[in-house]
């Protein structure tokens, strides 16, 4: 099987706004696919079309035969549960709506609650839980039926770092069970650590697409060097500014210099220039992070 989800030439308009513009991509079976983009890029519209709660104006979204068994698992960006209802009843209800038998939904819900440290609170009302714990219930409601395809819109928002790690583990567990996961998120470090492939959208179109390595290669980002220098780092940056192998140089601290080389620039040449022109005390290399690529590609200030 080549793809779990195929999106071809999809267009979606809202009155005078074109939210998605001829977008095409594929999600492979069993992978974690991240959909990234600044606010208003069209991610949530794309997610809603993937789930089928809104329809594209043009193009098509298909789940090739066998890639989708039963309802999708869907965690919407706008979270919401029946607040006045007991937790277990809420989970049972969503389980049944997603195709489980009531007893099966109940057993799976109890196991999920235990996994999230919420055992003993089955009969409590949903609104008695903290926001983070309500998000766990929402996640359980979306994935109780162990879907073959899960679409998670901003799964990490509003979670503390410990719970973010727990959600990462849950998503990896889904993947290990054969589930194809499509997620949209703004937490670039988390996406970088979990996504197999990603697509960056801006103004409804795809601007980057592939694995992180493919994207690094496509965006032409060269090697990144971090130097500890003797003296003022800002002066050191000025001293190398005119060198033609340089993409950028900036002081990140009084004694730390961040240097980005042009693509294909040999590191040896760079080290020679740096040693000649600055007082290098230590040096380390680093790859460009997803966050850096994102900010560079779609513009600063677009992250939450």
């Amino acid at each position: 099987m080549d793809a779990a989800v195929q999106v071809r030439e999809v267009v979606k308009n809202y009155r005078t706004v074109r939210a998605v513009e001829r977008l095409s991509f594929e999600v492979r079976p069993g992978e974690i696919f991240a959909l990234l983009g600044p606010n208003g890029a069209g991610k949530t519209t794309m997610v809603r079309m993937l789930v089928g709660i809104i329809q594209p104006d043009e193009g098509e979204i298909t789940f090739p035969a066998g890639s989708r068994r039963g309802p999708l698992g869907y965690l919407p960006e706008e979270r919401g549960l029946h607040r006045d209802t007991p937790i277990l009843r809420t989970l049972e209800y969503f389980g049944v709506l997603n195709g489980l038998e009531r007893s099966q939904a109940r057993d799976t819900a109890l196991a999920g609650l235990k996994r999230f440290g919420l055992d003993g609170r089955e009969r409590d009302r949903v609104d008695s839980l903290s926001k983070g714990n309500q998000q766990k219930i929402q996640f359980l409601a979306a994935t109780l039926h162990r879907p073959s395809v899960a679409v998670l819109d901003e799964p990490f928002s509003g979670l503390d770092p410990v719970n973010q790690q727990q959600f990462l583990a849950e998503i990896r567990q889904l993947q290990s069970e054969g589930c194809t996961v499509i997620l949209s998120a703004h937490q670039m470090d988390l996406v970088e650590s979990i996504a197999d492939r990603l697509l960056v959208m801006d103004h409804g179109v795809s601007v980057l697409h592939g694995t992180l390595d493919e994207i690094r290669s496509a965006t032409g980002s060269g090697v990144h060097l971090r130097l500890k220098v003797g003296g003022d780092a800002a002066s050191a940056a000025e001293a190398i500014r005119d060198w033609d192998g340089l993409e950028s140089a900036a002081a990140s601290d009084t004694d730390t210099l961040e240097v980005r080389l042009r693509r294909n620039c040999p590191v040896g040449d760079a080290l020679r220039v740096l040693v000649e022109r600055t007082e290098v005390q230590s040096i380390e290399t680093a790859e460009e992070t997803l966050r850096e690529i994102f900010v560079r590609t779609v513009g600063k200030g677009s992250e939450r």
Partner: protein
């Protein structure tokens, strides 16, 4: 449509709103309400049936003595008392009325306010005066008895099905009132269920799992269940009040007339069922287009089923007129109009079937349209869709 899903949604909605504790409290509340109503009627009836004292100024003109009884009415001659004295006694409620006789053909009955017993008193007075006049004539006792013998007239129903008797106005008012009350309750549940889900943002999660048609079908079925549970509670409350009245206060244990006819009641229940389906589907449609229930002017549309009430009540005493026959065929009005005809009139069975079919057909069409509109409007927040947009979605 998956019946399994619609049933799961129906069960969810039912369990959300028909909580056993609330239903039990509701039953007790209605028992108390009916009990208070019954006792209020009992005491009013008792007061009405008490002996009434009427002072007759000019009693001699009518040939009445110092004191005369006409059943429970005690007629007492005014004697030396002036009209002013009598009026003072009337205001102090020492007497119930003054009969001021001008001559043998004219009199005035002076009372503080209209009472139910006035008509009965006047009838008895007329009879007593006629009897007095006849007694003063030269007729012999046998002729007199023959003259005074009232004619006995009994009603014989020519339609075999009607020999059990038709329901009284009270029964119809109870049936129609209960249906409207149930609709009002249904309206509030629909409103809370749908706008609540919109504001609590659960719609996306649900619509990702099931179709809008399954969702609205389940909702309507569940809420019809809630309405019927409430109706059963009213019924139980009524029976409980009657049973307590009969056991401890010697009150009669009687159901409203006509309600015991199982065939008519079966039709009434069927029309109620489809009527609730019709109106709840419409309510759901409107509620789904409301973004903020606190500010939306569309909430007032929920009063639509109450508007035709006046038209129907006009026809209550004339259930088989053309007016009522037409109203009983119009879907939306028929759930109230046809039960009135069934309980009070004699609709042809073809009319009943046609009315029910029309209602079922329009409800089914509404259901399909509601499914289409529901899927779109439930996801909308902010500006409410215009009626033109809603119409376009419904036809899509």
């Amino acid at each position: 449509m998956s019946l399994r899903i619609a049933r799961a949604v129906a069960r969810w909605e039912y369990e959300r709103f028909a909580k056993p504790k609330d239903l039990f409290i509701g039953t007790l509340f209605f028992a108390l309400m009916f009990g208070v109503f019954d006792f209020a009627r009992f005491f009013m009836d008792k007061k009405e049936s008490e002996e009434k004292t009427i002072v007759v100024a000019g009693a001699e003109t009518l040939g009445f003595g110092e004191e005369q009884f006409l059943d429970r009415f005690r007629l007492e001659a005014a004697g030396d008392r002036t009209l002013e004295t009598l009026q003072a006694a009337l205001h102090e409620k020492k007497i119930d009325a003054i009969l001021d006789v001008s001559d043998s053909r004219t009199a005035e009955l002076r009372v503080l306010r209209d009472r139910g017993w006035h008509g009965e008193l006047l009838l008895r007075l007329q009879a007593a005066v006629s009897e007095q006049r006849l007694a003063e004539s030269d007729l012999d006792p046998a002729q007199l008895a023959a003259l005074l013998q009232p004619m006995e007239v009994s009603v014989v129903h020519q339609s075999a099905a009607e020999s059990g008797g038709r329901a009284g106005s009270l029964t119809v008012l109870i049936v129609v009132g209960t249906m409207l009350l149930a609709l009002f309750i249904g309206f509030s549940y629909v409103f809370v269920a749908i706008t609540g889900e919109k504001t609590q943002k659960v719609t996306e999660s649900i619509l990702a799992a099931i179709t809008p048609q399954e969702w609205i079908d389940g909702k309507i079925l569940g809420l019809i269940g809630v309405i019927f549970a409430n109706l059963v509670c009213y019924g139980l409350g009524y029976l409980l009040a009657k049973a307590v009245g009969a056991a401890f206060f010697d009150r009669p244990f009687a159901l409203p007339s006509g309600i015991e006819d199982p065939v008519s009641m079966m039709w009434v229940v069927l029309f109620s069922l489809f009527g609730f389906g019709f109106w709840l589907t419409l309510f759901s449609l409107v509620a789904a287009t409301i973004s903020d229930p606190n500010t939306s002017s569309r909430s007032s549309m929920m009063m639509l089923p109450f508007l035709p009430l006046g038209l129907l009540l006009v026809g209550m005493d004339h259930p088989d007129t053309l007016w009522m026959r037409v109203l009983a065929l119009i879907p939306g009005l028929s759930p109230t109009a046809m039960p009135i005809r069934l309980l009070r009139g004699e609709p042809h069975w073809m009319e009943v079937i046609l009315s029910l079919l029309l209602l079922a057909l329009v409800t089914a069409m509404f259901r399909r349209a509601a499914g289409k509109v529901f899927g779109v409007s439930m996801l909308m927040t902010g500006k409410e869709p215009s009626f033109r947009e809603v119409w376009r979605w419904a036809r899509s």
